[in-house]
Amino acid sequence: MSEFWLLLGMALATMATRIPVLITLSRRELPAGVRRALHYVPPAVLAAIIAPIVLLDEGAPNLALDNAMLPASLIAILISWRTKNLLLTIVVGMAAFLVWRTIF
């Protein structure tokens, strides 16, 4: 039964972040300044999610050779920058990660 309440609580908490603002803000004009600020939401949030995963290990900086995420991320950045091809970036980045992990 407690699994039911867990799912209900999480579902409501998630919906609260997704639905109300979508409804209220689709009914009025946003000020130009706010719209300009929203332009930076996707890149800022993505960077803030990625950076700690790649560069930290249990909260401490991890720049060691056996942190395969670091070289693989640099390779992925390079591929994405040169090709703008998302699928290629995922496949090559993942391959680089697994190969590096096997070697070091």
């Binding site: 999480m10 998630t14 972040t17 639905i19 603002v21 332009h39 930076y40 993505l46 803030a48 693989a72």
Partner: protein, 239 residues
């Protein structure tokens, strides 16, 4: 004039097609989530149901780790809200472009909104001038993500019951490369680059803040940095 059915289908399929690489990227992540759910002590049914009713990858990961640590339900729900709070910004970004749609559309569009569909929509909406076309495009992306996530979860649940310690494979890196592939093409000028560097730096320094609130702080400072840089140097492509 309402769009013809074939037009709807066109935008729906375009949304699903533009999401395809992200479906691939979500697979390892969904597999691990399913396996971790089982390892955390959740039943297979609850693990699968969470993907269906919550449908938020990173929050689901954190929740199963909290379940494994016997965290009170209220704390898990509050953590879920904070971890998902970035969706408020997503909703605020997309809402002006979905102006005039009825609530019966906005509710499912919001329910299915993820990082991935948000980024797909932020790009795809530029080529679609009406909320009507955009809603079909967005819902095409969202339904593709949703079905893909359910299937990956089920396979992960099956694998979690068969394979010991699936998390040790390091497949969570799939999320990182996926997000890198989404992020880099957004860096069109100096303001975007500065915004990203400030957000990443803040996220690193604020990582120890409770309930992942460092993520929100990093997003806010990144946005402010982008706006300041824009005032200093101007922006290449006004959205």
């Amino acid at each position: 004039m309402p769009p013809s059915p074939s037009n709807r289908k066109l935008h729906f399929l375009a949304g699903a097609r533009d999401t395809f690489p992200l479906l691939v990227g979500a697979w390892p992540f969904g597999l691990i989530y399913g396996a971790l759910g089982i390892a955390s002590g959740l039943s297979p049914l609850a693990t699968a149901a969470m993907s269906a009713v919550v449908f938020a990858g990173s929050a689901q990961f954190i929740a199963v780790s909290l379940v494994a640590a016997s965290t009170p339900l209220l704390v898990i729900a509050l953590t879920t809200f904070v971890v998902n709070a970035r969706h408020i910004l997503y909703a605020a970004t997309l809402a002006p472009q979905l102006k005039g749609l009825p609530t019966r559309w906005l509710v499912p569009l919001g329910f299915w909104l993820t990082d991935e569909s948000f980024v797909v929509a932020a790009n795809g909406f530029e080529a679609r001038s009406t909320p009507e076309d955009r809603k079909w495009y967005l819902v095409g992306s969202e339904i593709a993500m949703f079905l893909n996530w359910q299937i990956a979860t089920w396979v992960g649940i099956a694998a979690g019951q068969a394979i010991p310690d699936p998390a040790s494979w390091g497949l969570e890196f799939a999320l990182v490369v996926t997000f890198i592939g989404m992020l880099v093409p957004m860096l069109k000028g100096r303001p975007e680059l500065i915004s990203v560097l400030v957000a990443a730096g803040t996220a690193l320094l604020a990582n120890s803040l409770p309930h992942r609130s460092g993520l929100l702080l990093a997003a806010v400072l990144g946005i402010v940095a982008g706006l300041l840089a824009e005032q200093a140097w101007g922006r290449k492509e006004p959205a």
